[in-house]
Symmetry: C2
Subunit: 319 residues, 2 copies
């Protein structure tokens, strides 16, 4: 148990992941309300929106209005997502309010790259070279390599740790060419293929190759295994996870339209806190925000914990 | 990894757990349809009903009609639940069709015993002595000690491994007095308090005391941690789990009316099969039965996997 981290960083992505996939329009005021409530829970990283084409993602047509609207809490990093230079420029308009960092975003499955981005892996590498240059030209540091579909892919099947390592190598080649220093590697189980032993093997391979890089896991609960996967990673010392309050989000890929979203932030916090690992998050407050998220989207969210309540609430009653 | 079992036994309790808690009346024909479909998946243990007072559990007023109605598949053990001699007698009417075994059912939390059964722990021990005698008088073997609330309790808070050991000792005292041989210990996380380290500690304590007894875990997914808990137990060699298709069931205790049910059978099967552990269950068929269960109850069930589909289905498409 000596590998257990002392602190786990929960990087909240509920607003961005959740509101891009909800079918109904969500009022900008509700998005702002959720972002502000999340910041009151002790979360230090909140991804607030996507700067994407409103034609492709109508749910984020109000990205600017949302970022303008929320009151920032000191000490909280608010981030956003973008996929091209147009999106980057929209984000840069808010560089005083948002924490803007660049990422080299790759996919371990060429099948996914083709279906999702309509690019070959080589095309995608070229696009990432161009995007890295754009980041640097705008004074945005590029410190992260992200790998989507790192544990399996609906279009290509299983993904081996060797394919993940190869993909990260491609990212390092782009970084080296551009003269940037990568500190962080992010592995995403985009379509919910991970199981604990696969998490363990992939992390072991990536770590043995790049022992000094920090690893973030982006887990989806598509098949109900996200918490088990997080637990396996925590036992190996992984201390950074993307997560969404209430389990907001989904999986729009290949016949999974009804599928669950990301790992629930509050279930991850419960797991950590019960294991004696700090998160800095007030779980009872976070559960309340999960209930708020459920009320905002107007349908049941996958989080079980927001329906059951925390253990501490029952401990207080029992005492 | 040498403790991993080769085979995990999934003991399906969906019909019994699910239909006792659903608010709407479920047609007997639908119950029968689900039981018969479950038997086609390769599951070898299916708990089909509760013989309880229809005043207390109206959902099982048709227990007899259900057991009479389904066509038994050879090689499948159909079981039932009862809490007193009246229930036992109703079950015994079907001893040719049902596998009838006796259990000494205790609770590690006196707070729960009082609230749920309106008995002290001492009263409950007396009731179990009486019930064991009734089992034996009817030629029913008593081979199992069950412990509810083995990981925590909404009324009493945390439950220590020592309390679980003490409760099992009480069960062994009853067994010895009655001259029966216990082969199985069943630990239930009745209200969803377990986390992986608590599972590991409790199993370690119970095993060090009774190394030759088989352990079954009955897990609830009340706070989203059931699969992580099962994984922790499997890594310790635990190879018997109660589970419910679709995650049928719930938790009627103490302000958890909206809470999730048991660990989903199909998510447990997915975990095992992907870890290379046999279950004898056809996962794609089981997912179809989960969808059938969802259609029968008429609302979304907690299982994520029935909404996403199996990995093998995507592997076949990708190949």
């Amino acid at each position: 148990m000596s590998d257990l981290p002392k602190h786990v960083h929960v990087q909240e992505e509920g607003p961005r992941e959740g509101f891009q996939i909800e079918p109904g329009p969500i009022a900008t005021a509700d998005k702002i309300r959720l972002i502000e409530a999340l910041a009151e829970t002790g979360l230090k990283h909140i991804q607030v929106c996507s700067f994407v084409s409103p034609k492709i993602v109508p749910g984020w047509a109000d990205a600017e209005a949302t970022v303008e609207g929320f009151k920032a809490r000191p000490g909280v990093h608010y981030t956003a997502l973008w996929f091209n230079e147009a999106g980057l420029n929209r984000a840069l308009a808010f560089r005083d309010k948002l924490t803007i960092g660049g990422s080299i975003s790759l996919t371990a499955s060429e099948g996914f790259t083709k279906k999702n981005l309509n690019r070959t892996h080589a095309d995608n590498l070229a696009a990432m070279r161009k995007q890295t240059a754009a980041h640097l030209a705008n004074g945005v540091a590029v410190t992260r390599i992200g790998v989507m579909a790192a544990f399996g892919c609906n279009y290509q099947g299983d993904i081996s740790p060797a394919q993940v390592v190869k993909t990260i190598e491609d990212g390092f080649a782009i970084a080296e060419e551009a003269g940037v220093t990568i500190t962080d590697l992010s592995l995403a189980d985009t379509m919910g293929w991970a199981i604990p032993p696969r998490i363990e093997r992939t992390i072991a391979e990536v770590r043995s190759r790049w022992p000094d890089k920090r690893i973030t896991l982006h887990l989806h609960d598509t098949r109900g295994l996200a918490v088990a996967n997080a637990h396996a990673a925590i036992k190996l010392g992984v201390d950074r996870f993307d997560a969404t309050v209430g389990g907001l989000g989904g999986c729009p890929f290949a016949g999974q339209k009804g599928a669950a979203g990301n790992i629930c932030s509050e279930e991850l916090v419960l797991l950590c806190e019960e294991m004696g690992i700090e998160t800095g998050v007030d779980l009872d407050k976070l559960i309340e925000v999960g209930r708020m998220a459920e009320a905002i989207v107007g349908h049941q969210l996958p989080s079980e914990l927001i329906h059951a309540g925390s253990l501490d609430a029952f401990r207080r009653q029992a005492a």
